[in-house]
């Protein structure tokens, strides 16, 4: 019962935070530099790890698909399998997971320490809303950066798949055949679908991490606990949302 109450409280707090941030959306142009800074942190600095992970997800997909499909002579469809699963599912989801681990934790740590060291209180006395200058730029930045990350993740993942398809002996199909299959079955619509999904994930992850950071109570020790909680909650939310968003988008 207590846990249930905590969940409701958390949801309510997140929704409130979202509404408050959204109400300041008009101030975004004046917060340009903060927005750029967050874009830099969320997009640019996350890119390398997203690229590396996507490459290997692509390779693993191609390996597994090659192994499974070899049995009934459907190796030509590896490209389509890697293409579709990267674009529709794994690209968005793994990028969101990385975002939670890398950006979400940083956000929570920063906001939690601001809370613990009374910076948030200072903002309050200055009549400056945390939702406006701390949350809004991050939400806007994640919305802008997520599609870029996803497209890069997709392309790198596809490329990784083609490398495996070409060089692993038991797969051994040409990149032309691989990409032909990929192009035949993967439509731009699927990529857009994945981007929409990623936008939802990214937005929720950032929002939840902000909320947990801002609601940290107690001393500096709580910062670590808040970060852990933020990442765990984010990961759970990504997987739960994945089901529903996929259902809606299908």
């Amino acid at each position: 019962m207590k846990q249930l109450n905590a969940i409701f409280e958390g949801v309510g707090s997140v929704v409130q935070l979202f509404l408050r941030s959204a109400s300041y959306a008009g101030s975004l142009p004046r917060q340009w530099s903060r927005f750029i800074e967050q874009c830099y942190l969320i997009g640019y600095t996350t890119l390398p790890i997203v690229a590396i992970l996507s490459f290997f997800i692509g390779t693993v997909l191609a390996l597994e698909a090659g192994y499974a499909m070899e049995g009934f002579g459907a190796k030509e469809f590896i490209g389509s399998l890697v293409g579709l699963s990267m674009a529709r599912e794994l690209g968005p989801m793994m990028t969101a997971v990385l975002l939670a681990g890398r950006v979400g934790s940083a956000i929570t740590a920063e906001l939690a320490s601001m809370t613990v060291y009374q910076e948030i209180d200072a903002l309050k006395t200055m009549n400056i809303q945390a939702a406006k200058i701390l949350v809004l730029p991050r939400l806007a930045a994640v919305l802008v950066m997520m599609p870029v990350l996803i497209v890069i993740a997709n392309i790198v993942g596809w490329f990784g798949g083609s490398v495996v398809a070409r060089y692993v002996s038991y797969v051994g199909i040409s990149p032309e055949a691989y990409f032909a299959a990929l192009r035949h079955f993967t439509k731009f619509k699927d990529v857009i679908n994945g981007v929409e999904k990623a936008e939802v994930f990214g937005f929720v992850v950032v929002l939840v991490c902000c909320d947990i950071g801002l609601n940290t109570r107690g001393g500096p020790r709580e910062i670590g606990a808040a970060v852990t909680r933020a990442v765990v909650v984010s990961l759970i939310l990504i997987l739960v949302l994945d089901y529903f968003v996929t259902k809606i988008l299908l």
Binding site: A122, T125, M126, I133
Partner: protein
């Protein structure tokens, strides 16, 4: 009444009214019990008391960062917890640890308020910020980050940041704690100067006897969440109340039950 150095407008100090405030934390412990006091516009009001007596909690109520369990706090007749009040009444709180924004330089820390509230263009803001830094003699630290500053510097920057807000009510939380005697004297001097020159209502929470007796127009002694008495420094010095004389001129006696009490009560 003097003019505000930043706007040139006549500074209108505001009064504070604390009316039968009780504050109870989740643990069920009363931190404040039936606290009532009035701060007149333009005066320096000092709230004194041992650690754990609830001074900081009381200050947070006045700043609107917290709401009382019962009773009410009014700043200029308005509830300070409401956003509308803070939009009307400029109140600044100098936090014990400074609470400077670690991600911003000292200059940006000071410029945040006028920028966010669009008080003039960048040149006007620069003039204002530089002026405030000069008053606190920390203009050299403008481009530094808070993590590079010493404790005393942090306090002075925090006060400068409060000044840039052109506050009508200035709240200090332990302004001289953790400072060496020289720096404490400097801060004391600054608080007094600000009051005299800018006609701002000040509420100082401290357990620093020197500071309280030097700058306070009136002093409230808060013990165990209750107001013991409110008096002028002279009245306080003349007081024969053992609890007060004990607090003002402590005799170090390890066996005294007061020490036990302080040990068991963590700083709130």
């Amino acid at each position: 009444m003097t003019r505000n150095p930043f706007t040139g407008a006549e500074a209108v100090a505001v009064g504070v009214e604390v009316d039968h405030v009780f504050k109870e934390f989740d643990g069920g412990q009363d931190v404040l019990r039936n606290v009532s006091l009035r701060v007149e516009p333009g005066e320096i009001f000092v709230i004194m008391g041992p650690s754990g007596s609830g001074k900081s909690v009381l200050l947070r109520q006045i700043a609107g960062l917290d709401t009382p369990t019962s009773g009410r706090v009014l700043v200029d007749g308005l509830d300070p917890a409401l956003e509308e009040t803070r939009a009307k009444v400029r109140l600044a709180l100098v936090f014990q640890a400074g609470a400077l924004f670690n991600s911003l330089s000292v200059y940006d820390n000071l410029a945040l308020y006028p920028r966010e509230h669009r008080l003039g263009n960048e040149a006007a803001i620069r003039a204002k910020v530089t002026h405030a830094l000069k008053i606190l003699s920390v203009e050299d630290a403008a481009e530094k980050f808070p993590s590079e500053l010493s404790g005393g510097m942090k306090k002075r920057v925090a006060i400068a940041r409060a000044l840039v807000m052109e506050p009508q009510l200035l709240l200090y939380d332990e302004p001289t704690s953790e400072l060496d005697p020289v720096m404490s004297a400097t801060i004391t001097e600054i608080i007094a100067t600000l009051k005299n020159e800018y006609s701002v209502t000040s509420v100082v929470v401290t357990h620093d006897r020197e500071l309280a007796l030097t700058i306070g127009n009136r002093i409230a002694i808060l013990m165990d969440g209750e107001i013991l008495l409110i008096a002028t420094p002279d009245e306080l010095r003349a007081s024969k109340d053992p609890r007060i004389t004990d607090f003002l001129n402590p005799v170090i006696d390890i066996q005294h039950p007061r020490f036990k009490k302080l040990e068991t009560q963590a700083t709130t």
